[in-house]
Symmetry: D2
Subunit: 382 residues, 4 copies
């Protein structure tokens, strides 16, 4: 079990280190990175404190640089590697009515070209995963043709899939709504799954824990996709309402545990399944680096509890139809305080048992506030 915890890799998002907010306001934080290199510097602090976050996702064009190999080297020198490339086709003025599903073929061409360029970047950075989330959809009934948009989406995905290298994958994300408010072209796991089936083996579904309708049982989806061999990975964050993008485990830690229990029970922690564990969240009002550390810790704690579940006892109770007994086995693991165990694992790795204290003691926060003066802070550029 300790080995499994030591082996766990949580990918952090470059954009989690920059400013973010809502349509109402983006509050700037002192010391925020001005470029992707500084984002990696911050990500390195998270890995230094936790030992569990050696991979960093990029968002293109937010992380566009002239020399991606230099960026990969910058990562490597800090004990990091570059992870999923997130293609952003929602911020160009051309994308007002969509990108790959836009009614105008010129806009679709522009979008697909950007996706292909992202694969070029993956070649340079050594990234395995092209993570695709589309803002595409409509705001008003009648605005565009639902099935026509599906045809265009499918065509674009096929072209990009054909461009992938043998070791590369498409991770296809879905989301109920926002920024589209009537239809979204990939609104649920079923739609994403159907497109991945049509594409082939190297297309898989990614589950963002904040992208579902109220009441959706996310662990069911996770279990089902693992059964079908189509779970590509996670975007972890948490929510009380919509796509709130709060820290993973902050809003419903029991849900995060149940999700990771399904991962554990269905073999999803095995490296060969390729399930990616990413964070994708916004730190609108809280300190960004400590928030990422806290999120990594929350995922680790939920994982530790999931690994604690006595599967033999669980299966015995399930087979016997013992409702309360089976539930009790699960709750026993959840109710355990795993913080001492994780402290131990960290100490055995030569880390501080308290990652947040370690970060505070590092002086990094004071350093970046002092040094990162001038320039333009990184953000979403919305």
């Amino acid at each position: 079990m300790k080995a499994a915890l030591r082996a766990q890799v949580i990918e952090t998002p470059s954009w989690g280190y920059g400013n973010s907010g809502t349509r109402f306001k983006v509050f700037a934080e002192p010391g925020v990175p001005r470029d992707p290199f500084e984002k990696l510097d911050d990500a390195a602090q998270v890995h230094a404190a936790t030992g569990a976050a050696p991979v960093v996702s990029l968002h293109i064009p937010w992380d566009a640089v002239g020399d991606y190999e230099a960026l990969a080297r910058h990562a490597k020198e800090r004990g990091l590697r570059l992870g999923a490339v997130n293609a952003n086709v929602f911020q160009d003025d051309a994308y007002r009515l969509g990108s790959v599903a836009h009614p105008d073929p010129k806009v679709r061409r522009q979008a697909v070209d950007h996706l292909l360029a992202c694969v070029d970047i993956m070649d340079a950075t050594g990234s395995r995963d092209l993570k695709l989330w589309f803002a595409d959809g409509t705001n008003y009934p009648g605005q565009d043709d639902i099935t026509g948009r599906q045809d265009r989406l499918a065509e674009a995905l096929a072209e990009v899939y054909a461009r992938l290298g043998d070791q590369q994958r498409i991770l296809l994300e879905y989301k109920l709504f926002e920024p589209s408010f009537y239809t979204t072209d990939l609104p649920d796991w079923g739609t994403s799954y159907a497109h991945c089936l049509a594409l082939g083996e190297r297309a898989q579904v990614v589950v963002d824990t904040g992208h579902h309708a109220p009441g959706t049982n996310i662990e069911f989806i996770v279990a089902f996709l693992l059964r079908q061999g189509k779970l590509g990975g996670f975007d972890f964050n948490s929510r009380f309402y919509a796509d709130d993008d709060l820290m993973a485990g902050a809003a419903d830690p029991f849900q995060l545990f149940r999700i990771l229990h399904e991962v554990a029970k269905n073999g999803g922690f095995a490296a060969e399944t390729g399930v990616a564990f990413l964070l994708d969240q916004c730190h609108n009002i809280e300190g960004k680096i400590p928030a990422v550390i806290r999120s990594v810790m929350n995922v680790q704690e939920a994982t530790a509890k999931a690994l604690l579940v006595d599967l033999d006892a669980l299966r015995a109770a399930q087979s016997a139809g013992d409702v309360l007994g089976a539930n009790a086995v699960l709750m026993d693991a959840y109710n355990t305080d795993v913080r001492p165990l994780l402290a131990e694992v960290r100490e055995e790795q030569g880390l501080d048992p308290d990652p947040l204290a370690a970060y505070r003691a590092s002086g990094h926060q004071e350093r970046i506030v002092a040094e990162r003066v001038g320039g333009t802070q990184a953000g979403w550029g919305a």
Copy 2:
């Protein structure tokens, strides 16, 4: 357009003529049928008044009779035919923890045998569709194994699918929750779709308009399933909250219109697609026969509006990216009062232009209240 309206067939549910209610109370209505034959008598009134409801769905065992050919004859003599057979595997005491996905193989055997018996009934009644809705699921985290239950479900479905005749189909329904409150084994269209894909061509998804999470865009699902050739049909009803099972079109008539617009636009009204248009609703506090008539009328009105949409103008505005223009084309159809048109269609068919007035004038209601005395009123037997 009038031809399309004349050709429309809406299937009414036998159980819509019996008593129904909530877990809090079932209010009995005077004159309610005591057996399936009397249900058909009532359904015949709906067809007599509307000319659009010649098919009646059965629910087994609620409609179990000794001689199904006699039942079919009874229908035929009244201008009706028997439609989908709805298999009920949720009311035997054995089904406390599920039916086809129950942990105990003996219970699964019992459930599958019932499904096979339903196909026998279909052979006798000439029904095309075996409609499968399962209450299977769990109430508590850990209670049973999510993927294990999927395996059992898949195995049961395969056995039943193999038993189907060449002209018979499985219509596989999904539902977010209720009566299961943690997991449901077929909670969404994606799960149903994946099972239908595994089964083969004669397994199709049925969309019950009350079975989705809040905010779900149902017309998107309808359009997507039509695109994939996997829409088997509808269970129409309406809702403000959960699976309220109110009269179709009563809660959100604009949604019903949007759904039928997708059906129209994607060819789903063509007989050869085999899309079935069923009602599945409860009349807990209102008169049952008039409520079914009203529901049929609501579906007809939404259909008429959907057929009124100027598709050429719509496509032109969509292609041009004219958001407001495209929306306006749709709204023009929706805002039209189609009741005069439908009155005309009815008169051309030799019907009363006002089906509810026709029913009131028929004297049927007074007759059944007077005659159906004694015996046990039909209901869910929950």
Copy 3:
């Protein structure tokens, strides 16, 4: 803290010991009580095992008996006392369109008379609280007049309030929907609060944790009502979807903790505030007595965690605007395993540290299964 845990009183519902289910099926459990006296025998087991459940709520007419003083004596002999009287005005055939808000004054009279009779029962049982939940509402737009129904509701409440003794209270419950599916006459805390304000000091709001719209922040309501001096009590249960009535703490233990944290922080555990802590749940598929024990334990564990919150540290972090620090103070308490502490508290009270094991060892379950043969099992009678 141990003193606070020892002092905690959780009221269990008589109907939790009987059969319950959904509109689809009520599964009967062997050994279930046949009358209110046997329900008290079962409740006594819960109290014997936990030491925290000495009060039992009644539901009238489900618990109607000829001699309520005898019932109170039966309770007292078993170390129990009778708690809130829940008035049921939703199961008579007259109540198809409502009770106290029914358009027909004769039906309203019948309903109010029942409420007044419940106060008579309270006089006999020594109960303090008249708990009022109304199924009243409408299923269809236009069905009845929203404000007219409010007037009738207000009039009925005023008559009942005038009948209360000095030490008696009305606890006014609200619920978003079910069994009414369009409007509910008391749909949210605001409506209940406005009526309680109009009635006077001895009318207070009761919060059923399963009666809210998706996304509602229940602890906010609890805190707000405590601030206004209008929180009368809780109906605890848990839910994933609607009013699922699962065991308290089973679906979202973190939410239960947050609710009890607001109670603790705002003085709601002090006896003089009169906040009642009731369970109101259904055990559709699990063993009833063990499920009630488990629920009591879940509330105790959430309470213990709430009492563990370091309020000084919390307030310091809050005042300083330290978002992550303040959240961490709360999470530290939540992440603590309080089961050893509660085991200790129980042992100090002379109880078995493991209430479920104690119940299993008691032989009560085998006894009731053997002895309660014949008669009609208690249930909702829906």
Copy 4:
């Protein structure tokens, strides 16, 4: 009825003429105003086309100008008057953790001073209503004290209320969530209502149709507030998911009708009730001026249908307990095509029967695109 339609005043929001979007992207529209004067020029077009939109709401500081009397004169010269002043206390960097409920008294002072300054502006513009919506809340459990924040909010409101002139009102808005994602200090109508009660007669609740939890019955709230004399007005917009801010009537026209039916039935259209009918919406992807015109038309059509309801027939059916009959009375009005009637009303007022055609014919759109070059387009400045 025509008189009522002619008399209807719909207030349009100055910010509806500027750019808006989501956190993902704000798409700029050519010709968008650069200052409040140009916004009024656009609003004048809406009024010219519809004859129903003579009042314009301001948002301060988005509409801050040096001379408010000049702004009021600019309005008057165009046949307009200035309406509600919307105070914006969510975009200063100081407001990261809130405004009037911020833990730091200095920030609260800054916020209250801004609210007081808004009353000064109202004195200059002759506005009656101070519309208050607060982004205040928290993102994480424990972040701040729920009841402490209520105390601060109450104190701030009291200070502002005391500053109001005799003819001025506070319209207090509520919203479930966004931009706060755990608690919002005014999350529902009940909270707003309780604060308005504490403030006094000139504080009233404003209902934004996009600010509720899924499933909330908004017309119930409207009816209840009218009954209590506490409905100050509306912010109309529509939604499929969260606070989507789509055009009023676009997502659920039947809901808008039901809301306006409650207004009509409960006397809310009478001028002396002071109910304000405002639009508050975003036109992220569609043309702004035509979208406002369309929204005004949608409100007019829903109003016309509401006025068509045969209240005598409705009440008769309601009193008789005729569920289907009462529903049919309502639906008859809703299903009527009122566009010819409104065209007639417009012609009688000397207007084009088709407001959108009139706007297109006006040449205004081409003019503003040509003339409004340079400068900074108005927007939210998020």
